[in-house]
């Protein structure tokens, strides 16, 4: 067994320990995925289970009781989840949603257990809702989960950290993550100034070095409140060789060609 092999295994074990305790950013996740190819005997789930068991062992003697109103919300969530999975009409997620918006929206729409039962009864009358659930599990995930899943499961992910270019955007952090093979990705921003969508909207641009001088329109999005934002990247044109991602602030609906300043820019490494 070579020293390099042992060294890479130690590195992998450390990444798995980091993953199980403080989480990994996208580049580290990518490194862990690469190392797992060389060390298939190592399984991150083993560390995650160990951390879970440790936390269980160190929990206080008196277990907390789930608040009743939260239990009600969980039941409502479950009804909505399984009903949506069962093939009920489910709208596409908003293009840009604050990280906590899915939960906020759940809070705002307390349909209630009775609604769940009514929906379930209807489905049972048709074909048995659980059977339908098992055939059509297609509920849209919250963007945060989509984002985390994309990072975990995408092999060719490219990580592009943001840099604020204008004075009001110096504190913007986050990254774009992009999969060349899937031609999709996500942007995560923290500290991006909220916009009034009736007056201006943020617009994403993707610079492709193999295309003409104009960057590819990545679409518009909104920031509803101060905080983190996750935005899917879904360009209308193929992105063959992305060199940079950039954000401008444009009139509502966006523009075809921008002459506005680049507010934040992410340069593709390499």
């Amino acid at each position: 067994m070579s020293q390099a092999f042992d060294g890479s295994r130690e590195h992998l074990l450390q990444l798995m320990a980091d993953h199980a305790t403080e989480g990994l950013d996208a580049p580290a996740m990518r490194v862990m995925s690469d190392l797992l190819v060389d060390h298939p005997e190592c399984q991150p789930v083993g560390f995650e289970l160990a951390a879970a068991a440790a936390q269980l062992a160190m929990m206080p003697a008196e277990a907390l009781t789930l608040p009743g109103k939260l239990r009600d919300r969980l039941l409502t969530d479950a009804g909505r989840h399984f009903a949506a999975s069962a093939g009920r009409a489910a709208g596409a997620p908003d293009r840009a949603i604050r990280n906590d918006d899915p939960v906020v929206s759940l809070r705002g729409r307390r349909v209630g257990w009775a609604h769940f039962l009514a929906a379930a009864s209807l489905l049972v009358a048709v074909a048995g809702w659980w059977q339908v659930v098992r055939l059509t599990r297609s509920a849209p995930e919250p963007l945060t989960m989509q984002y985390a899943g994309f990072i975990r499961e995408t092999a060719d992910i490219v990580y592009i950290p943001w840099v604020g270019k204008e004075s009001d955007y110096r504190n913007v952090t986050g990254e774009a993550v992009w999969s060349p093979s899937q031609q999709k990705g996500y942007m995560r921003f923290a500290g991006l100034t909220p916009n009034d969508r009736t007056k201006a909207q943020y617009q994403l641009w993707i610079v492709d070095s193999t295309r003409d001088k104009h960057p590819i329109d990545g679409g518009v999005f909104d920031v509803g409140a101060v905080g983190e934002v996750i935005v899917p990247i879904d360009p209308k044109l193929a992105v063959d060789h992305p060199a940079a991602f950039a954000v401008t602030l444009e009139k509502p609906g966006g523009v075809v060609v921008s002459d506005g300043p680049l507010l934040v820019v992410g340069t593709v490494p390499g």
């Binding site: 789930v45 068991a53 907390l64």
Partner: protein
């Protein structure tokens, strides 16, 4: 006590959904309150955890872990993501490192800890106090390794080594449980 509530959820038993919430709601709520300071954040997190649990129930394998540990693992995954998202810093926390207990862990009464947590406790008890304290801060408090290093005055590499070796020790104990070894018998 029903041993296979997750399998019932995955196989289409509608009664199991509410039963699952009642069985594990307190556990998930407790984990969320440990890792997230604000109650409203914890409430939102619990909702996300259970949505993830509904999706993951079919992947539960009783040969690998108990339901309780599996649920705790799913919860921790989501909570770590949320924790990173909201970028909570220990500087915001009311508790200081010096106030944290380092004595032997106590078991919960309501939550079914079973043997896995006992094995984890056995492994923890074999660690040096400094190692155990680091693991406690990393696992239970959710502190970033760099912050632990700063607070305890340890090199970052030492903190990471303590976390890694501690988890390996616990994993070995859990593997021993699967093999039927006596507690504390792992190397």
């Amino acid at each position: 006590m029903d041993e296979n509530i997750l399998q019932r959820v995955a196989s289409g038993d509608t009664d199991a959904v509410a039963a699952c919430i009642d069985r594990f709601g307190g556990l998930v709520w407790g984990l969320a309150r440990q890792l997230l300071r604000r109650p409203e954040e914890a409430e939102d997190a619990v909702q996300e955890v259970f949505i993830e649990l509904w999706k993951s129930a079919g992947r539960f394998d009783p040969a690998i872990a108990s339901e309780t540990t599996f649920v705790a693992m799913i919860a921790r995954r989501r909570l770590i993501d949320i924790h990173r998202r909201i970028a909570r810093r220990p500087a915001d926390a009311a508790v200081s490192a010096d106030e944290l207990p380092i004595e032997a862990p106590q078991f919960t009464a309501q939550v079914e800890i079973r043997e896995e947590a006992a094995r984890a406790a056995a492994a923890l008890n074999q660690l040096r106090p400094e190692q155990r304290r680091v693991l406690q801060l990393a696992v239970c408090q959710g502190w970033p390794h760099q912050v632990i290093a700063d607070r305890l005055g340890l090199p970052l590499g030492t903190v990471k080594t303590h976390v890694r070796r501690g988890l390996i020790k616990i994993r070995e104990e859990l593997d021993g449980l699967q093999r039927g070894d006596a507690p504390g018998g792992a190397a």
